[in-house]
Symmetry: C2
Subunit: 284 residues, 2 copies
């Protein structure tokens, strides 16, 4: 299996290098909504791939489906078990198509076991009365902040450029304990890549597990369910181009093995592009 | 079909009245994870049933499944199309059972069409380091606030007792426009009913669509995707008994036909029981 070469043949001239995110989320169509994919070392996590790239791959299966209508509105991914480095399959099924919305169910399989399930809602959007209630964080511009060193234990962090205002992992000293787990940062793909739904959903999961910000201890963690709501249409995403986006993440509660986290992702131009939620298992 | 009588035979002595929520979410097992249910006039909405009772019915299908293990951690419901008043079927499928977690997919059908899909994660919880970051709202106790009149257009509101501190629909005057859509209230089932996962998830959807709080105009709306994270184990829910719970809801953004809303539900004793998110279609 040569996913990189396939990706190049598929969508670009042979002379254009494929972005590592496009290679990692590349899917070979097998017909009837079935696809074959392969994990990428560029997005490896401590065990298996970075969850954001799993979500991006599942979203990509829907986006690439010939029956797909509209833009993504909501994506929920349930991580049912660890995905090992290697090949996997995805099945994307449209379960109902209405006049302006379309509902999808997805399953990712590896070694005859369900690795992840997902659901997606797509819709055709129209201009309506609109209002923003959340506030764009008042923070320095990306260029005024230093790039954070990568996290060695999490190779996928090499695929992002992060510039923290608060809540970087290196700030997780004991002094922070009993405080809060908020992070605020500028983040973009590296090498740079124009923002689209695939990269946006991966970025929504690129905020470290809040328990690591709150407690300076490495312990087993794993997202069990992850939801992203897309507030942006494709044109608004395209406006951001390769610029960094602003992300904030925080938790409501850590309790008996599970904590939640909520994130906002804003464009450089102060448009709220996505809100995202997840619930995460943690040990001890 | 006699769902009320079935419910009584099923779980209670003939002399004990069935709570309307238990009648509305009652499911007759058909074998192999299939169930038959029926909508209830007590939880009717402007079109079809209140979405919270659809979510509660889907959760109930998992809770009643003989293979169900642990307590709910996450539930996502995608409302694929309108559910008409009448009968429907639910299929609950366990897709993966691990040592401490179990993943489910659910489908609700009516007239050979998918009305809703759902996914649920259940888990066995253990005592761990815990921390609360969200703040319990400082508001008057439930008994110090007046009960809000029901909303005539939404018959399901008769099944709840709501006492608002802010953001009731009757406060939606033009003066509120360009302000914000936050609501804070005490809410409980009426007649009173001990809190459990079924009633909690319905309450998570009992905050009116934020667009109605923000704009004093009745216009078509409909939740397309709804997620609840359960922070409470069954013992913590039982502690609350029939007391009201405190809910807050707000939106991040209304944009081109869709807005999100996020809610917190707290026990009378200041424990955060659930956080919930949804994305909602609105017209104009």
């Amino acid at each position: 299996m040569l996913p990189l070469r396939d990706a190049m043949r598929d969508t670009r001239a042979m002379s254009t290098p494929v972005h590592p995110l496009d290679a990692a989320t590349h899917l070979e169509p097998l017909g009837s909504g079935h696809y074959r994919g392969h994990t990428s070392p560029n997005y490896a996590n401590m065990v298996g791939p970075f969850g954001g790239v799993i979500a991006a791959t599942l979203l990509n299966a829907t986006l690439r489906h010939p029956g797909c209508q509209g833009d993504p509105i909501a994506l929920t991914v349930n991580y049912a078990g660890p995905l090992a480095d290697g090949g996997f399959t995805v099945k994307a099924s449209p379960v109902r198509t209405n006049r302006s919305t379309q509902h999808w169910q997805l399953v990712m399989m590896q070694d005859a076991q369900v690795a992840a399930t997902a659901s997606a809602v797509f819709a055709s959007r129209r201009a309506t009365w609109s209002a923003l209630e959340a506030r764009f964080p008042e923070i320095p511009g990306a260029r005024e902040l230093q790039v954070e060193p990568n996290v060695e234990r999490a190779p996928w962090t090499r695929s992002y450029e992060m510039r923290f205002v608060e809540g970087a992992l290196r700030h997780s000293s004991h002094a922070r304990q009993d405080s809060n787990s908020r992070s605020t940062l500028w983040i973009r793909d590296t090498p740079p890549r124009p923002l689209d739904y695939v990269s946006l959903v991966a970025i929504c999961d690129a905020f470290f597990p809040r328990v690591f910000v709150r407690r300076p201890v490495w312990a087993p963690v794993g997202t069990v369910s992850f939801t992203t709501y897309f507030h942006a249409d494709a044109a608004l995403l395209a406006e951001n181009g390769e610029a960094a986006v602003l992300g904030t993440a925080r938790a409501h509660q850590f309790r008996n093995g599970y904590f939640d986290q909520i994130a906002e992702v804003w464009s450089e131009g102060a448009a709220l592009l996505a809100t995202s939620h997840q619930i995460v298992y943690y040990k001890e």
